[in-house]
Structures are given as C-alpha cells and as structure tokens.
C-alpha cells in the first residue's frame, strides 16, 4: 500500500491505483475521463473489465492543514443483452466498490494518511457509454494533510 504521507494529488491517485489493483476481482484501473474509455479503436491495449475508474472532480483547500479531493469512483463491467448477467454485474461491481470504500474507511490514519468522508452516495448505471457498460459510481471525498505552506512555496523572494 502507499508509503509516506499522502498530501499531493498524485499521491492520492497512486494510492487509489494501488488499492484498486490489489483487489482480486479488479482487472484494470484507469484515471481520467469517461471519454477516455475506448474499446472500439484501441485494439493494442484493450480495456479489461471489471474496471475501476477514477475521475477527478474538485479540490478544497481548508484552514487547519487539510485538503479535500473529490472524485467519482466508478466500478464497471461490460454488459450484455441478458438481464440475469446485468443483475449479477451490478451485484459484483457494487461489492467491489464496497470493498474499496471499506479499505479506505477502515484504514487507520497511522497506516495511510487519508480519510474518507461518509456517507458515500453510489449510483448505478446500465448500458452507458459506447461500450454498454454497467456498474456503480460513487462520489467520494478524500481528506488528506496538506497545509498552506508559504515557506516551501516556489517563489524566488
């Protein structure tokens, strides 16, 4: 898992990547926008499912040495015409999402300096995007230590 304090945006994304790929049922992790998902033309490195996708939303810098990063965390699988498969996929992707959120929530501050705000709202989606994906998307807010720091700021004077 992540080592050292999490403070930068990149370290948070890296933490999410490591966490997601350590889950047994996750085949791929992607960071970016939904439009980046392309199974139609990317034949060299086709997307693997179940896929965890992290989409950045916003960041809030606060007094008291903390920063909050907001993401959409989405777990998705490629869907089919069959309702039985779709129901099973929604179940599986929700369980994966729940596992990831549990690991973030139950990890102590001593292990990883990240704090997941609850409650987390999760929304299902089916037959979405050009790949007919189904799964769940959660809006998460991760709190990390990131004080305003004038001493280390990159200025000449």
């Amino acid at each position: 898992m992540a080592s050292g304090p999490l403070s930068s945006f990149k370290s948070v994304v890296e933490y999410m990547r490591t966490l997601s790929l350590s889950h047994l049922n996750v085949k791929q992790f992607t960071f970016g926008q939904l439009s980046d998902l392309d199974i139609e033309t990317n034949t060299q490195n086709p997307t693997q499912y179940p896929l965890v996708m992290l989409i950045p939303r916003r960041a809030d810098l606060d007094a008291g040495g903390k920063a909050e990063f907001s993401f959409a965390l989405s777990v998705q699988d490629i869907t089919n015409y069959d309702l039985g498969v779709e129901e099973d996929q929604l179940n599986t992707t929700f369980m994966i999402l729940q596992d990831l959120l549990s690991r973030m929530r139950m990890t102590t501050w001593g292990e990883v300096e990240v704090f997941l705000e609850v409650p987390v709202t999760c929304r299902p989606f089916v037959e979405s995007f050009n790949n007919n994906l189904a799964g769940w998307s959660a809006e998460i807010v991760l709190e990390v230590k990131n004080p305003f720091n004038n001493c280390d700021a990159a200025f000449n004077d």
Binding site: L24, N25, I39, E40, T41, T43, P46, T47, Q48, Y49, D77, I78, T79, N80, Y81, D82, G84, V85, D88, Q89, T92, N131
Partner: protein
C-alpha cells in the same frame, strides 16, 4: 477493400468473459477472478489463470464426468444447479454458451462488417 474486425472480436471477448464470470461456480470468487477471454490472431481463447480446477467443474469428475468428446461437451447447456454427485462432481458445463450468445455474436459481427463495407464504399466514392 480492407475489412478489419479485430475491434469487434476484442469487444466480444470482453462480453464472453463477463458471461463466463456470471456462469462460473461461485464460492470464494477466485475462479471468477481468474476467468479471462482473450482475442489473438488464432481466435478467441478462454483462460482460467491459476484456477485450472474450473475445468473439472465444467466437465465433472469420476463417474459423473461427462464424455471426452469435445463436440458432445460443447452441445450441453449450462447447468448452474447440477445437484450433488455420488461418485464425483456433476458437470456444470459453465464454459458453454447458449444459442442466444452465438446469435448476439453473429449480430455484432454482421453489423460491424456492414458498417466497414459501407465506409469503404463511401471512401472509394469520395476519391472519384
């Protein structure tokens, strides 16, 4: 005129993988996590990674084992609840696909083929 259906085959391999994950017998979820369907130049392959025992759940074991003829095995329908065998594990045929899956595959291939032919014809016409 060049027709390249590799993207459709890749998409279909992902769909087949998700169907197999659904059909895979479930206890700890390890078998499901290991199922992988890949498209290579030789065709679409099913891999079970470190869960090779999935084959025994497909064909059954001991006295309950289905015949060795691959064609006969493929003709059997997926049986999610085979019940308990007395002299081994009863076959589930979980790696077999239903007729509707083959129909879905044929539909997708036919659609992609038609689109590519149409695009090629339009390209040729635009060159005139």
């Amino acid at each position: 005129m060049k027709i390249d259906l590799s993207s459709v085959y890749i998409k279909l391999s992902r769909k087949l993988e998700s169907i197999l994950r659904y059909q895979a017998p479930f206890d700890t979820g390890f078998l499901r996590s290991q199922v992988e369907v890949t498209y290579t130049k030789d065709g679409i392959e099913i891999g079970l990674g470190q869960a090779g025992y999935g084959t025994y759940l497909h064909t059954g074991t001991g006295q309950e084992r289905a015949g060795k003829d691959p064609q006969q095995l493929m003709d059997k329908a997926w049986n999610p609840k085979p019940g308990k065998g007395t002299e081994g594990i009863k076959p589930r045929y979980w790696m077999n696909f239903s007729e509707s899956v083959y129909e879905m595959m044929m539909d997708e291939i036919a659609t992609a083929y038609a689109i590519q032919i149409e695009d090629n014809i339009l390209n040729e016409l635009n060159k005139l």
